[in-house]
């Protein structure tokens, strides 16, 4: 009986992906989903299929829609990420600090525990820079809008730093300065911060890129440095085989790199 009920629930996956369930059935199915990874996987693939049905019926909207949407965007406040960002980033910073201490200890012990591509002493120093950058960055932000941005960033940052496969790397930047990267293939993202990069004229900024089999993608613009450090930016959409590249671009960013990279790191 119980087995029949479960089998019966499972057949709802199609109707669920098509958004054809009534609220009561939908809640019942969602409870089932939470406990059934295979079903969640099926639902995911069926939703991707439904998205193809959507793409197949695309019709360009009028220019008026665009105007209306952008007028609303200018006065619509965004939601922070779902999880409590404060808790997650506190946890992340604690783990980060613990990792930095371990790395420093490993460096003193001769660095046998070093991760591939990591220079422990530099890494420990860079970790301190990164923490300081987060703290100074947050202090420099005042308005609610900026606070929301900071919370989003901290949330993303926490997700990368707390990932079980998080790996830290540092490198010297051509022309001066140090870059620190923490990356996690599980979350498909990396956090990037820097210290001591050369100061740029006001119309220029540093732009971070991901380069790999899917092409070169702009990942982020580095924020203006505070006390010589840029607070961490998070780049998502990381793919296997990607490299990280840093270039100097106009402040608004460029669609593709236009200057010689001052940093190129294999991940």
């Amino acid at each position: 009986m119980a087995r029949n009920r479960r089998a019966d629930l499972h057949t709802l996956a199609g109707a669920y992906a098509l958004n054809a369930l009534l609220p009561r059935d939908r809640r019942r199915f969602e409870r089932h989903l939470a406990a059934c990874p295979a079903c969640a996987d099926e639902v995911r693939s069926l939703r991707e299929t439904a998205a193809r049905l959507a793409a197949a019926t695309a019709v360009p909207p009028s220019a008026r829609l665009r105007e209306q949407v952008f007028a609303e965007v200018a006065r619509t406040r965004q939601l922070p990420p779902a999880a409590d960002p404060a808790d997650r980033s506190r946890l992340a910073r604690a783990r980060w600090a613990a990792a930095a201490r371990r790395r420093a200890a490993a460096a003193r012990a001769g660095g046998r525990a070093r991760a591939r591509g990591t220079r422990p002493l530099v890494a420990a120093t860079a970790a301190v820079f990164l923490i300081a950058a987060v703290v100074f960055g947050s202090m420099a932000l005042t308005t609610q809008h900026k606070l929301n941005l900071a919370q989003n960033r901290d949330h993303m940052l926490a997700a990368v730093l707390t990932a079980p496969d998080a790996k830290m790397m540092t490198a010297q930047v051509r022309g001066g300065g140090t870059a620190t990267i923490v990356m996690s293939h599980d979350t498909g993202a990396l956090a990037f911060s820097s210290a001591g990069l050369p100061r740029l004229p006001s119309r220029e900024a540093y732009e971070l890129w991901l380069m790999g089999p899917p092409g070169t993608r702009s990942a982020a613009m580095l924020p203006k440095p505070t006390h010589g450090m840029t607070s961490p930016v998070v780049a998502s959409g990381l793919r296997t085989g990607d490299m990280v590249e840093l270039t100097v671009e106009p402040t608004a960013g460029a669609p593709h790199p236009t200057t010689k990279p001052i940093l190129l790191m294999a991940l």
């Binding site: 057949t11 709802l12 996956a13 199609g14 109707a15 992906a17 098509l18 958004n19 054809a20 009534l22 995911r44 693939s45 069926l46 939703r47 991707e48 299929t49 439904a50 998205a51 193809r52 049905l53 959507a54 793409a55 197949a56 019926t57 695309a58 019709v59 360009p60 909207p61 009028s62 008026r64 949407v69 952008f70 609303e72 965007v73 619509t76 406040r77 965004q78 939601l79 922070p80 990420p81 779902a82 941005l149 989003n152 960033r153 949330h155 993303m156 498909g188 380069m211 899917p214 092409g215 070169t216 993608r217 702009s218 990942a219 998070v234 998502s236 959409g237 960013g253 669609p255 593709h256």
Partner: protein
């Protein structure tokens, strides 16, 4: 090296030189209006087309499409790349909003007329080339389903009907419609090469 990323490669899908939607959404989640403009370019036609298909009324479709696009702006930080493609996330928001509207009391009156109407013919509408190609592929794959599978899926997704309503319209048992929706979608998924 190509400028801009190539669309995640699905079999039979043309490669496009467009910025990765997941990266753009990440930026939108941090308040980047320029990134939202790029997101708009990529998803507006899909959003509007789907909503129009479900509502069949251009004025209402425009209203709902606006709500959907604003929801994308508002909730971009909640998009989790690990849980599916950004395209699926956008389509889900658009479909939910359209269905909410069509199932609301306000629309109930129009609903009965709608059931009797044939689906609107968009052959006269200028579609993007990409959408036309996708349209052809999906049409071909829908054609490979059984009639009951196809009708169940089309009524539910493009018609916005709940599965008990679909069972009613098709004069079929509830259980049968449920399984046909799932079997049909699985077949469609395999035909389209969806990962």
């Amino acid at each position: 090296m190509a400028d801009g990323s190539v669309h995640p490669g699905r079999p039979g899908r043309p490669l496009r030189q467009v910025p990765d939607l997941a990266i753009l959404l990440n930026r939108v989640g941090r308040g980047d209006e320029e990134a939202f403009s790029a997101v708009y370019e990529q998803v507006a036609a899909t959003v509007f087309g789907l909503v129009l298909r479900v509502l069949r009324d251009p004025a209402q479709a425009e209203e709902v499409a606006q709500e959907v696009l604003l929801e994308i702006w508002r909730t971009a930080s909640r998009f989790e790349p690990g849980r599916g493609s950004p395209q699926a996330w956008v389509a889900m928001i658009a479909h939910r909003r359209a269905v909410d509207r069509v199932r609301s009391a306000e629309a109930a009156a129009r609903r009965d007329d709608r059931a009797a109407q044939p689906p609107p013919d968009y052959d006269g509408v200028a579609e993007a080339v990409e959408a036309k190609l996708e349209h052809e592929r999906v049409r071909r794959c829908l054609g490979s389903l059984t009639e009951l599978q196809r009708e169940s899926i089309v009524l539910a997704y493009y018609g916005g009907y709940s599965y008990p309503e679909v069972a009613d319209l098709l004069g079929t048992a509830l259980g049968t419609v449920k399984t046909r929706m799932r079997d049909g979608l699985i077949r469609l998924r395999d035909c389209l090469g969806v990962a």
